[in-house]
Subunit: 449 residues, 2 copies
């Protein structure tokens, strides 16, 4: 066994570029990890060993021929033809792939094979990533769980809805994975699975070819072990030249501690972890202060409800075909919650909720005049025991509704030794500054594991 499976994506790219290894050797190393971990974790909805190796050989052959330019279009600096060369990556199974099934977490679409790749898949393939397979999603990226288990304890949930993406990275089966977030489907599983989860500013990444849950809120979500890897994958999917994360000191970083909204839903150890994190940042020289209630958007307390109406209204209409043709194959949970809410919601309620969200987003932009980042919980604690629920979604709903970029950093362990993340959010559009802050924060706070 080689040790390439311990390399980050950034390290893999460098090693292949310098001729020290090959896409095939990398693929073999990760396939060995998958052979070891997958029987327990069950992160993959689809993965074909031979297909992965064939792709690796194709990538290596193109490299050998200097043929990273596949089309006349590859002369554009926004689109590197090698930025992810040979890097294993998984895609949540609500993201279309032309060469693999895409089943949206439901028996209704078992065996479905889309005609083309989603934009984000095509963009990573253009950069010569090795798409290993499709990762497990909850039913229609909602809350009815798939088969995946937490990589740190198979009796616990990995979180959802991007369950397989988070667990695959958490178990070391791929260095990168793509999921989505409409409510808390990236940040929550990232916290539970001990990886970095990134939800970009809403709208920055194309969702063409990704099952629409609620377009007003849907976003891709990325998983990796390092901020550099998150940034690399972000640049490829956004379609911009790959750039290093800017260096910055934690000194002078204006951290707003904004625990109040969901504090009483965090367990005691998580509250202590959050407090510890704030203390460490202050000790390291960050300007840490508690965000006063009055600084929040006036209707901040209504975001949770507004999010529910907007997401349910849109979700239910987007599922009209499945509702009419496969009602009995939809889980009772989904029918009685999200779909029922959406089918009953009036247009006036929906419209008012959308307006409220827009208003709050603008007020939030102003709040960030005072803070570079806000520190908030990513989850209430360790992944709960049991596989019938994917955990409490409340810690991310407001931030998703506000369209702000968010990162969950795997900084703590709970009382059972399982990972607990801390979430940092920034102003809309300030994703790169958030990355820079996150690197400084991880150095200053250290990793308690």
């Amino acid at each position: 066994m080689n040790h390439l499976h311990t390399f980050s994506a950034t390290e893999i790219v460098a090693a292949i570029a310098s001729g020290k290894t090959s896409a095939q050797a990398v693929a073999e190393a990760y396939l060995e990890q998958i052979a070891i971990r997958e029987p327990e974790v069950q992160a993959w909805q689809y993965l074909d060993h031979d297909q992965v190796l064939q792709q690796a050989r194709t990538i290596d052959a193109q490299h050998a021929n200097g043929a990273s330019a596949q089309t006349p279009s590859t002369s554009y600096p926004n689109f590197s033809g090698h930025a992810l060369r040979g890097v294993p990556i998984g895609f949540k199974d609500i993201i279309d792939t032309a060469d693999m099934p895409t089943e949206y977490g439901t028996p209704i679409h078992r065996g479905h094979r889309p005609k083309i790749d989603a934009a984000c898949v095509a963009l990573t393939k253009h950069a010569q990533a090795n798409v290993f397979g499709k990762t497990v999603t909850t039913e229609f990226a909602n809350r009815f769980p798939g088969k995946t288990r937490n990589p740190f304890d198979p009796a616990r949930t990995p979180g959802g809805s991007s369950s397989g993406s988070a667990a695959a990275v958490g178990a070391g089966m791929v260095p990168l994975a793509v999921g989505t977030q409409t409510t808390s489907s990236t940040i929550r599983p990232a916290s539970f699975c001990g990886v970095i989860g990134y939800r970009p500013t809403w709208g920055d990444m194309r969702c063409h070819g990704v099952m629409e849950a609620s377009a007003s809120l849907d976003s891709l979500g990325l998983f990796a072990h390092t901020v550099d890897d998150i940034s690399l994958l972000r640049d490829v999917i956004v379609g911009v030249p790959v750039a290093s994360v800017p260096e910055r000191d934690v000194k002078g970083l204006r951290v707003g501690v904004a625990h109040q909204t969901v504090w009483n839903q965090c367990d005691a150890s998580t509250q202590a972890a959050l407090q510890d994190c704030a203390d460490r940042l202050a000790t390291a020289g960050a300007t840490v202060s508690v965000v006063p209630d009055t600084a929040f958007p006036v209707d901040f307390g209504l975001l949770e409800d507004a999010h529910r109406w907007v997401s349910s209204y849109e979700f239910a209409r987007n599922r009209r075909w499945e509702i009419d043709h496969h009602w009995d194959a939809i889980s009772t949970f989904l029918r009685e919650n999200r779909i029922h809410d959406g089918l009953t919601c009036s247009f006036e309620t929906y419209q008012a909720a959308r307006s409220l969200l827009e208003r709050c987003r603008l007020q939030m932009d102003r709040l960030f005049a005072e803070y570079d980042v806000l520190q908030v919980p990513a989850a209430g604690g360790e992944a709960p025991i049991g596989l019938s629920s994917t955990g409490n979604i409340v810690f991310c709903t407001s931030w998703s509704a506000l369209h702000v970029p968010a990162l969950s950093l795997p900084l703590y362990q709970g009382p059972n030794g399982l990972p607990v993340g801390v979430q940092f959010v920034a102003k809309r559009g300030n994703d790169q500054a958030l990355f820079a802050a996150a690197k400084a924060i991880m150095q200053a706070a250290g990793q308690r594991r």
Copy 2:
């Protein structure tokens, strides 16, 4: 030949409900029109005579059995099981259908058959519309034209990108059709084809299953001959109880005349028509005034450019798969314009353009404190001669960018006796008030044809 093909959708629904006719008789009447008009107009990308009649018989059989309730979900008042019973309708061929091909206006996807219906298709089928077929779109809903000709003069363009949808309604081949609008793809062809075109407030109608051109700007667009029909179809697709358009008098309607931005791109007869329309509305008692330049958003003049960067940036990334796999099958025009612009656009330019659009939308909301509707050109004049261009897009770009609802009303004829529409736009979210105003305007302005 019966005369059912002269019935509006609203009249068809009433006639079928009262037992005076059947979905089959309606289908036969419209199929006769198609047999007469289609050889010249070429509005249909896919239409199967037998399939249409089979669907009509199924609808009639369900009606006879009282079986409008197809699933447990049909008890929700937001979703009538009969609001469009037996009404023929066409869908632009970038909108997915499970029982018909969907080819996106490109040879790349010839013969493609999606797995499920787009949300808007499923919603109309749920209301028992008879989906006749797929209407011609330009290549990827951009500007390289399809085969369709103007129903009033086959030597002229029907406009684009929803060419077939507008022409099919204009030629009387269906009473309703669905298209899309990212720039001017509904309002412009509606003006050229002598029908009402409606672009809703951005975000009101789900685009799940509709090819994404540029999600920040994409919207469905509806075509019909009456405002009542537009409103009916809107209610079904938005997923709300069907309601009549509120009656209102034109007296007191606050009409802002906002010609200045594109006035010099209108020909003299269109300028005269617009002036005549404003005069007639004033005579009828509307409060008509010219919107001063200072009332517009500060950056109104930059909207055109901002729209171009946002739409190109997103479009090019959404086409990554086709670019990498079928570069040579993409038209030179599309490659050298929209795709080139998008592939070269920097993220900073894109981000700045998105911010500018958001800022202008908020300022536009405030402008509408003074006006119920703005009267603006829908096109520069009659449909131009020739089929190699779909006409000037400039008359709608800013309104699309601003996310406001818009209607093109077929009020005038140009010097060659061809239709010329007048566009009315309203505040975001005020679509129903716009419908009410439009009915009053059509009565007051009369129809000059």
